[in-house]
């Protein structure tokens, strides 16, 4: 069985070699197609944008699916597939699909498809769950109209379904959307501007998209995921390069067109390449955070958490990660510095380390010197520096630190363990988020205070839950902002997590790639390639 299976590709290769040698002299391609070869931050392995929050899968979702509504760069929801109306009592939302929407298999997009898709999404997305908690009915009244009826008002409803990140409600055919929310979908048909080429898909290596000729873009300028998605290229190929240096060199040599993330220290390599432009696509950037485990000592003690906050300094961490100060921002706003809800209240302790304060707090808390288990992933470059820097800072602040190295998957597995430290538990880990993923109290999982039902670290924090409920109930932006500032202050005091600052990752493209719109999600519509 083995011999047969392994034999096949070899013979195939040999045959191909023979064919190729005869084809060597014929011109490569009769008509010129525009292909964009892009190196993305990670390999695409999961094709179901609802089951996972992985960025690369979300980006894939935006390529082949469309959304009903989307926020623009001002965080304002805009119609995309559908326009909507809200009843005066804030209980009924009526969405009307625009004309010309069609799935890649030729079937028209109906309201029933949208209903099925929203329902599946509602099972997975935490914001979606909140909406469905107050949903009386969601149904398609005809092919183009769907009506969403709530049992009580849910003010941020449009913000949630229009959000750009983590899980946006992508619209799939009803038959696909009927897949259980715990299993991955197996058919990849959307109505978005690009068609997924299943033939050429190699998980983790490359994925190819072709322009969907029958896509009818909305009128209007594109802005983030809103506006008209006019595709000006024929093919987009995403590849992964496990080695940053190789990717840089490939771009400099013109072998690829686009590099989603540029390692800042390596930018001088691109300086030497005249045809490459390095720029900031996404001015919001990312945050890096540390999360203590509230279940076990010493971080079950607020004073110890505060000591950790005092010991750590954003500047040191960000400088180590990024190097060039142009690409990071010392900023303690838990909902992001440049977002509507962002506010830096009470975050002074985080800016610079204060080991003395830390030691004083530890003394006050009666910290007994038990080493804290700090999980340090070694195989993900964007996450490998923080624990190392943190370990040194915490030690200087009077902590004993047991930094345990492991691969990221071990971190992922272990952070889900609620067991005590000696039995496979943990005290602290670090991770990164895109700013839109933490930009309000519903999206930001780290301000969830529901204990065991919350996110890893499991703070049981009724106060913050009250604030979140108030946020949902608030009907105007000012009240929302005021509540957000309260949450900010509470998080800083209670140290639900350690906001370690914001950083930016530039992208690089060959200069022939033009008209790329700024957005946290890299956008391949609007883009042109001059060749």
């Amino acid at each position: 069985m083995k011999a047969i299976r392994t034999g096949l590709p070899v013979t195939r290769t040999l045959a191909a070699t023979l064919l190729a040698s005869s084809a060597l002299l014929t011109p490569a391609q009769a008509q010129e197609e525009t292909t964009i070869t892009a190196v993305m931050h990670s390999g695409l392995r999961v094709l179901d944008p609802v089951i996972t929050t992985a960025h690369i899968t979300r980006n894939h979702g935006y390529m082949i699916y469309d959304v009903l509504t989307a926020v623009d760069e001002d965080f304002t929801p805009q119609p995309q597939m559908a326009d909507w109306q809200v009843s005066d009592d804030q209980l009924t939302y009526t969405f009307t699909l625009r004309d010309g929407l069609m799935f890649h298999d030729g079937a028209p997009v109906t309201a029933a498809d949208a209903v099925a898709s929203l329902k599946r999404w509602g099972q997975k997305d935490s914001g979606g769950q909140l909406i469905f908690d107050v949903t009386a009915s969601l149904e398609a009244t005809d092919d183009k109209t769907l009506v969403w009826t709530l049992s009580q008002p849910f003010a941020p409803l449009m913000d949630v379904i229009s959000k750009q990140s983590a899980v946006p409600p992508f619209i799939m055919p009803a038959r696909v959307a009927e897949t259980s929310a715990d299993e991955t979908i197996t058919e990849y048909v959307g109505s978005g501007p690009f068609v997924f080429n299943e033939e050429e898909y190699e998980p983790g290596v490359s994925v190819t998209y072709e322009k969907f000729d029958d896509y009818v873009p909305r009128e209007g300028e594109p802005s983030w995921m809103a506006g008209g998605k006019v595709v000006n290229v024929d093919r987009v190929v995403w590849t992964t390069m496990p080695d940053n240096l190789t990717a840089m060199n490939a771009l400099a040599a013109g072998e690829i067109d686009y590099l989603e993330q540029v390692q800042i220290d390596l930018m001088p390599i691109l300086d030497a390449a005249p045809d490459v432009t390095v720029e900031m696509r996404d001015p919001l950037g990312y945050v890096t955070i540390g999360r203590p485990n509230f279940l076990h000592p010493p971080f079950d003690n607020k004073l110890v958490r505060q000591a950790a906050a005092a010991a750590l300094g954003q500047e040191q961490m960000l400088a180590t990660m990024q190097g060039d100060p142009e690409y990071y921002k010392v900023c303690g706003a838990i909902f992001g510095c440049a977002t509507p809800l962002g506010d830096q209240a009470a975050s002074e302790t985080l800016v610079a380390p204060n080991p003395e304060a830390s030691k004083a707090l530890l003394a006050e808390a009666g910290y007994d010197g038990t080493p804290i288990v700090l999980m340090a992933p070694t195989d993900v470059i964007s996450l490998s520096n923080q624990p190392v820097v943190a370990a040194q800072a915490l030690r200087e602040g009077g902590f004993e630190v047991d930094m345990q190295s492991m691969d990221w998957q071990s971190v992922v597995q272990r952070r889900a363990q609620q067991a005590p430290i000696g039995e496979g538990g943990w005290n602290m880990f670090f991770t990164n988020w895109m700013v839109p993923e933490i930009s309000d109290p519903l999206i930001n999982v780290m301000v969830n205070g529901r204990g065991d039902d919350g996110w890893f670290g499991w703070p049981d924090d009724p106060q913050i839950e009250e604030m979140r409920s108030a946020y949902v109930a608030a009907t105007d932006a000012e009240t929302q902002k005021a509540i957000a500032v309260q949450i900010q202050e509470h998080v800083m005091d209670n140290v639900n997590y350690l906001m370690m600052g914001e950083y930016l990752i530039p992208q690089a493209r060959r200069t022939v790639i033009e008209n790329m719109i700024p957005s946290p999600v890299p956008v391949f519509w609007a883009m042109t390639k001059a060749e």
């Binding site: 040191q316 820097v389 492991m406």
Partner: protein, 295 residues
């Protein structure tokens, strides 16, 4: 003819003194230089804590990636740590991994190999298991083992050791199988010596010379594998500098700060080069066939 009167002397007597140079063997300066260089590297690494100017772990975000200077002799790494201090300290751990892997795999392989070589009944099962282990690519096995135990120093040594064990077992077994045909072993049987006694007193010493040679190669390759594991993200934690993880951390800076790879790389390669050279020399001296040609 089975009983040809041979007048050719067996070269076994050369094995009596493992490091005794046979007559007429010309070694040249190579091995001497190799031994000297290796001794210097080992001494410099072992004594590193006594003289390195900085704590190899002490970070300073404000002095990242500095060029060589009076303060930082070889510059600093992306964490602002002193490269010179890290490289010299890293040598200790790398050498420890090399020697550790060599000693552990030789010890385990020797025990299993002696048993497999002398007890026919155990041989079949043991060798099937060894074949299976050998069939699993070492690097994949090592990655999986490191993932299993976490990238601590011990688990990296174990991960490097386990794939090496079958090779040692095969070597020991083949030496034992050859040696047990030797008339002096048969004579010992005839003299009523017990199996354990024959195994330990007659057969074990035969395996030592080839094992020393094999051990040097394992030592060299362990240092190298550690580097590759680090490259693949399954190496020792960065809190324990090794040549391997210094290079792995510095690999993306290859074009901009070649020192990050160059200095640990040069020491690592030099060290492996010397170990291999000494291994070759030992093999040439110990291999009876080579001996024959020396005259």
């Amino acid at each position: 003819m089975a009983d040809i009167p041979t007048s050719r002397p067996s070269a076994f007597h050369v094995l009596t003194g493992i490091f005794a140079l046979p007559k007429g063997a010309r070694l040249g300066a190579g091995p001497a230089i190799a031994a000297l260089v290796l001794a210097i590297i080992v001494m410099a690494s072992v004594c590193a804590p006594l003289y390195v100017p900085h704590d190899p772990l002490s970070m300073d975000a404000m002095s990242r990636l500095k060029p060589p200077s009076g303060e930082f002799w070889l510059g600093t790494d992306p964490f602002g740590r002193d490269i010179f201090s890290r490289v010299m300290t890293g040598g200790r751990v790398s050498l420890l991994i090399g020697v550790g892997a060599a000693v552990v795999s030789v010890a385990i392989g020797l025990a299993i190999g002696l048993v497999a070589g002398f007890f026919r009944t155990a041989d079949g099962i043991i060798m099937r298991i060894m074949d299976s282990l050998m069939a699993i690519p070492a690097i994949l096995l090592a990655i999986a083992l490191v993932a299993l135990n976490g990238p601590s120093l011990g688990s990296v040594i174990i991960a490097i050791t386990i794939p090496e064990v079958p090779r040692v077992v095969r070597l020991v077994r083949s030496v034992v199988l050859t040696a047990r045909e030797e008339p002096y072993v048969e004579a010992a049987i005839a003299l009523g010596s017990s199996m354990p006694k024959i195994l330990i007193q007659h057969l074990l010493p035969n395996t030592l010379a080839p094992l020393i040679v094999q051990g040097t190669y394992i030592c060299a390759s362990a240092i190298l594998i550690e580097a590759i594991l680090s490259f693949l993200g399954a190496g020792v934690s960065t809190e324990i500098p090794t040549w391997g993880n210094i290079m792995a951390e510095g690999r993306t800076y290859f074009q901009l700060k070649p020192g990050l790879i160059f200095w640990p790389g040069i020491l690592l390669s030099l060290c492996i080069l010397c170990i291999n050279l000494l291994g070759d020399t030992a093999r040439d001296l110990l291999d009876p066939r080579m001996k024959k040609r020396e005259g």
